[in-house]
């Protein structure tokens, strides 16, 4: 290691912070172009059926209207369904906007009105008259459970449940202590602050620059080139900032298709922005119904785990996420049977939402563990320690690292867990019952193949570039830190460029793998620059570094210096002059180590402790304190890392207490489609959230030893809160969210 780390591990403010708070950071719907036209989407009022007539005459006659696109007049696009599959599409036939007269879900786009101004488009959109022929629809998952099926085709990257091990049914029957229950978490929508938007800048000759709300510019680029049969060189996607996404921006959505279609057809620049209610007309966290059975011996050791989940998906795609697998690896148990099935309902395809699957499955498992602890009169934390998993029994691999014990211990200490009384309803203050609950969180520490470019100028400025995204997580900042350390630079001398399809290849920003994937690629590219620089320096006449290897030098303050005698050094500029270059550019690709992946399971872990106060008479719940102790390998930036976990915990509080997308099954429609009636937590709902990072040495998951933090903060949080509600009230609520009506009985 030629350099010491000055920035890696240090709390650094966001390098893009000023741009964001001053409004200088541009989002997809803020880019503009001369002669920009505006599209407004007309959404279907029915969940299933056919459009028998669509009258656009009044809309077309409205002032300022350029064109009304419907299935009747849309231009031809790619023929094959496979052309519409994007980088993270589940198996199936992707939704094709304005494809034909069929309506397959409520809120489906049925027309796009394009006009000279947004206002004119919106006004005219209200004049489009659609006549439907209804067909019977079904949006209630409970009504189709009998038709549940194991998805015939796996979604790439999503492991199906492991094969059963041992004999769970027999072990359960023989277990002296049993708990078996059903669990349900309401469907949720992502509700990022920034609505989905696409601005297509059209250039004469047909070149498009697309500003899209997307968690991966290259996913949009390949979708557009494939669907509209355009050469890659003619489509550039620039999406430098994303105003929150939480998974909603993983797949290209219909506003992208519509904006590109209109732009190509009208041969001018077009912007389409979805309304807040239209943000409820595509993917969501799927309705998932679970049953969990745990059998234990009298000391609390798990004898059997049986966990089944049935999740809703759309008629056209088999969305899959990992819901039950966690129950096979969170604790040691030799008899495990896990099942995951789908059932089709007439909504759009669900979509990955922060820690897809994990907070659902872990809500069931961690509630079940709490029920077991109560039945056994064992402290819930002690029960978890007795069942601590030393290896990943799902795969038979060792964990790449796992400091969950330390997380339990430090989290419990910080929270004061030892002072908890076992019995429910045993703590109160005034009219409020107080409850303490805890849960374990787990998420995979992924890494994907990624490429990055690093360019160093003779003036000592470094640029690193990769086509990843920063969805608010701090990617710009951590890439800057990693690059600055590699070449011994100040962060001010480093620029990170991301969010551009023309940059080196990166996977979409998701799965908590960006720090590991983009970070490793950036570091590798910077290391390659470093090596080139040293080679030039060694070749200089009378070079003080003539015989020095990378291990013998440090890169600092624009110089390469001998470690043994820092006064002997060569400046970056002199080295480049010697090499006859004024810049050094290197591109590197990094990927997970296959050997390590065959032997080790990389996971992040969390120990979540929550305090609730419940008004005994009125049922109102407050989460007054959360301690989340995280074991996630090395932490690049404790400041942005803490923000990630706080955000995840807030999501968990929303899942536990307030968030619920309400379907009217008679209409087949989500009804509370705005953020007044869909209750995200607000500041008043959030009290103390204390985040701890546990020391964890990680050397196998990826070259930089990080594990990712985007998801782990939500996993287990809702369960810890529900467990705290039980401890406070003696009422076990297995249906989230825990709204006050559920505590009135």
């Amino acid at each position: 290691m030629p350099n010491s780390e000055t920035h890696f591990g240090a709390p650094r403010s966001r390098v893009d912070g000023r741009l964001k708070v001053t409004g200088a950071a541009k989002y997809a719907g803020e880019f503009t172009a001369p002669d920009l036209a505006h599209g407004y989407v007309v959404s279907s009022a029915i969940a299933k059926g056919r459009i028998t007539a669509i009258d656009t005459a009044a809309a077309e006659a409205a002032p300022g209207v350029l064109r009304v696109f419907t299935h009747e007049n849309r231009p031809t696009t790619a023929w094959l369904n496979s052309s519409y599959r994007d980088e993270v599409a589940p198996p199936g036939k992707p939704f094709r906007p304005l494809y034909d007269a069929e309506v397959v879900y409520s809120g489906q786009p049925v027309a796009l009105v394009v006009a000279e101004s947004f206002e004119a488009a919106r006004d005219a959109a209200a004049l489009v008259r659609v006549t439907y022929e209804h067909a019977p629809h079904e949006t209630n998952l409970r009504n189709v459970l009998a038709e549940a099926y194991v998805p015939p085709k796996e979604r790439p990257g999503i492991d199906p449940p492991p094969n059963p091990r041992g004999d769970a049914a027999a072990a359960y029957a023989a277990a002296p202590i049993k708990v078996e229950n059903g669990y349900h978490v309401a469907p949720e929508h992502h509700n990022p602050m920034e609505p989905h938007a696409t601005t297509v800048v059209w250039e004469a000759g047909g070149k498009l620059t697309i500003h899209d709300k997307i968690q991966g510019a290259q996913n949009t680029q390949s979708y557009v080139t494939s669907v509209f049969s355009l050469p890659k060189k003619d489509v550039r996607v620039i999406a430098p900032f994303v105003g929150g996404a939480f998974g909603s921006g993983l797949r290209p959505q219909y506003q992208l298709f519509l904006a590109v279609m209109a732009s190509l057809e009208l041969k001018r620049s077009v912007r389409v922005v979805l309304t807040r209610d239209q943000m409820f007309t595509f993917g969501y966290r799927p309705d998932t119904i679970q049953t969990l059975a745990l059998g234990a011996d009298r000391e609390g050791r798990l004898q059997a785990v049986m966990h089944e989940a049935i999740a809703g998906t759309s008629p056209f795609e088999d969305f899959q996420e990992v819901v039950v697998n966690w129950s096979g690896l969170a604790y040691h148990c030799d008899n495990v049977d896990l099942k995951y099935k789908l059932a089709k309902i007439d909504t759009y395809t669900p979509l990955d939402m922060r820690a897809p699957g994990a907070p659902l499955g872990m809500f069931a498992l961690e509630s079940g563990m709490d029920e077991l602890a109560h039945a056994l009169k064992i402290d819930p934390l002690e029960l978890r320690l007795r069942n601590y998993a030393e290896m990943d029994q799902n795969t038979g691999r060792q964990f790449s690292s796992k400091e969950l014990r330390a997380a339990y211990r430090l989290g419990a200490e910080r929270f004061g867990w030892a002072r908890r009384s076992h019995e429910p309803r045993s703590m109160r203050e005034g009219r409020e019952l107080i409850g303490w609950g805890m849960a374990t969180g787990v998420w995979e520490a992924g890494m994907q193949q990624a490429s990055a470019r690093a360019t160093l100028t003779a003036g000592g400025k470094l640029e690193v570039a990769i086509a990843t995204a920063d969805i608010g997580t701090g990617t710009y900042t951590i890439l800057t830190q990693i690059a600055a350390d590699a070449l011994g630079l100040r962060m001010e001398d480093v620029t990170a460029r991301i969010g551009d399809s023309a940059l080196p290849t990166s996977p979409i920003e998701g799965g908590s793998w960006t720090a590991a994937s983009a970070g490793s690629a950036v570091q590798a590219a910077c290391y390659a620059v470093r090596e080139t620089l040293l080679n030039y320096a060694r070749r200089m006449e009378n070079s003080p570094l003539a015989n020095a290897g990378l291990d013998h030098v440090v890169f600092t303050a624009g110089h390469i210096a001998l470690r043994s005698d820092p006064s002997r050094s060569v400046s970056f500029a002199d080295a480049m002059r010697a090499g006859g270059v004024d810049r050094i550019e290197q591109e590197e690709t990094t990927a997970p180590d296959k050997g390590n992946m065959a032997k080790f399971s990389p996971y992040t872990h969390a120990a979540v402790f929550a305090e609730v106060r419940v008004d005994e008479e009125l049922g109102a719940v407050r989460v007054t304190r959360v301690v989340d102790a995280i074991a996630a390998g090395r932490i690049i930036n404790p400041k942005t890392a803490r923000s990630q976990i706080i955000g995840g915990v807030v999501f968990g509080i929303g899942m536990a207490l307030t968030e619920e997308s309400m379907l009217d099954h008679r209409l087949g429609r989500f009804m509370n489609h705005n953020i007044a009636e869909y209750h995200l937590p607000v500041n008043a709902d959030i009290r103390e959230i204390d985040v701890l990072f546990v020391d964890e040495e990680e050397s196998k998951a990826n070259p930089i030893g990080v594990k990712g933090l985007g998801e782990i903060g939500i996993v287990g949080t809702a369960a810890a809160i529900a467990n705290a509600v039980f401890h406070a009230t003696g009422k076990r609520i297995r249906e989230l969210p825990i709204t006050l009506d559920k505590l009135l009985d």
Partner: protein
């Protein structure tokens, strides 16, 4: 949102004439609700008559021992007015429990009286709604109705009135001054909003060409024994599932006078004079409060998703009356329920 014309008259009479002159014309002041409804295509006014700058309507004045609140007094100005805080703290607390500071800075007293329901179906032009399009039906009755009414409903509409301010005004026996082509008139707050019956499209008894000019508060403000208790699905920025305005005049441990109004349960702020009469002269006990609650809710009806509101309202009434009797009103700054 439709195209509309816009005018800004200089006097109340001129404003009334402007609205009268054109079918589909509407008054606008703070616009915190109307602009929203226009964006959702729920309201499509042909003309907006902006009354926000009319002179003389933004004052709170002494009148006959009470206060007269101009229709253009903003919710913030109202809630933080020292006279309101001292003499009518119930009203101040109710206003501050609604919306957000930004909205309260823009929203006016007159507009608050006329804000429209938050019913999901009313807001969604892709669904039927008798209030929005009379005769199309009410999907809420058999649909998603967590936020809907349990008292005074009809088969045509189970929407609620969303205001917090109006619940306090109902308890305080306020009245509304209006003016129109036929001159000035005064409407008791209890008669200002109406039940849906078979005309759910009508929220209030105000004529389409009438304008609210002021709200009058009678002298009695119950500053010693009052509370505004609001129960909702998150601790701020949410409409009431159930809210209770309780105001008492105590005589030692007995109740000399009682006022009780509920929000979130009906098409109008729900005041029950019979329950108030029952409390008069009674010792302030939980039993008395429970009897009053039972009386208020004797005809309550749930529709599935909102059935819990009956029990919640019962408990909330008891809690609110207890808080009022004890002189320990629900605090606003700390949102947790006292």
């Amino acid at each position: 949102m439709n195209r509309f014309s816009y005018s800004r008259p200089g006097a109340v009479s001129e404003a009334v004439r402007a609205v009268q002159a054109e079918a589909g014309a509407k008054f606008i002041a703070g616009g915190t609700n109307l602009v929203d409804l226009m964006k959702y295509d729920v309201e499509r006014p042909r003309r907006l008559v902006d009354v926000g700058a009319l002179p003389g309507l933004d004052r709170i004045e002494e009148q006959a021992g009470g206060l007269r609140i101009g229709a253009l007094v903003t919710n913030s100005a109202l809630a933080y007015d020292p006279r309101i805080q001292e003499r009518y703290p119930l009203l101040s607390r109710a206003v501050l429990s609604g919306a957000s500071p930004q909205l309260r800075n823009a929203a006016t007293t007159g507009g608050n009286l006329l804000q429209r329901t938050r019913c999901y179906y009313f807001y969604d032009t892709g669904t039927p709604c008798n209030k929005r399009e009379p005769g199309t039906g009410c999907p809420a009755v058999n649909g998603v109705n967590r936020i809907h009414a349990i008292l005074g409903t009809s088969e045509h509409c189970i929407a609620t009135h969303p205001s917090d301010m109006c619940v306090a005004l109902a308890a305080l026996e306020a009245s509304v001054e209006v003016t129109g082509p036929g001159g000035d008139r005064r409407i008791a707050l209890a008669d200002f909003h109406r039940l849906p019956g078979d005309q759910p499209e009508r929220d209030s008894t105000l004529g389409a060409d009438e304008i609210v000019t002021a709200v009058q508060l009678p002298p009695k403000g119950f500053p010693a024994n009052y509370t505004y208790l609001k129960l909702r699905d998150r601790q701020s920025y949410a409409f009431a599932l159930v809210s209770v305005a309780a105001a008492l005049e105590m005589d030692g441990g007995s109740i000399r006078e009682a006022r009780l109004a509920l929000g979130g349960v009906a098409h109008k702020p729900w005041r029950d004079p019979q329950a108030e009469a029952l409390l008069r002269g009674r010792p302030a006990t939980r039993e008395a409060f429970a009897e009053a609650a039972a009386l208020v809710l004797k005809d309550a009806r749930g529709y599935g998703g909102n059935t819990f509101k009956i029990e919640l309202a019962r408990r909330a009434i008891i809690r609110a009356l207890s808080q009022a009797a004890a002189g320990t009103p629900q605090p606003i700054a700390d949102k947790h329920i006292a």
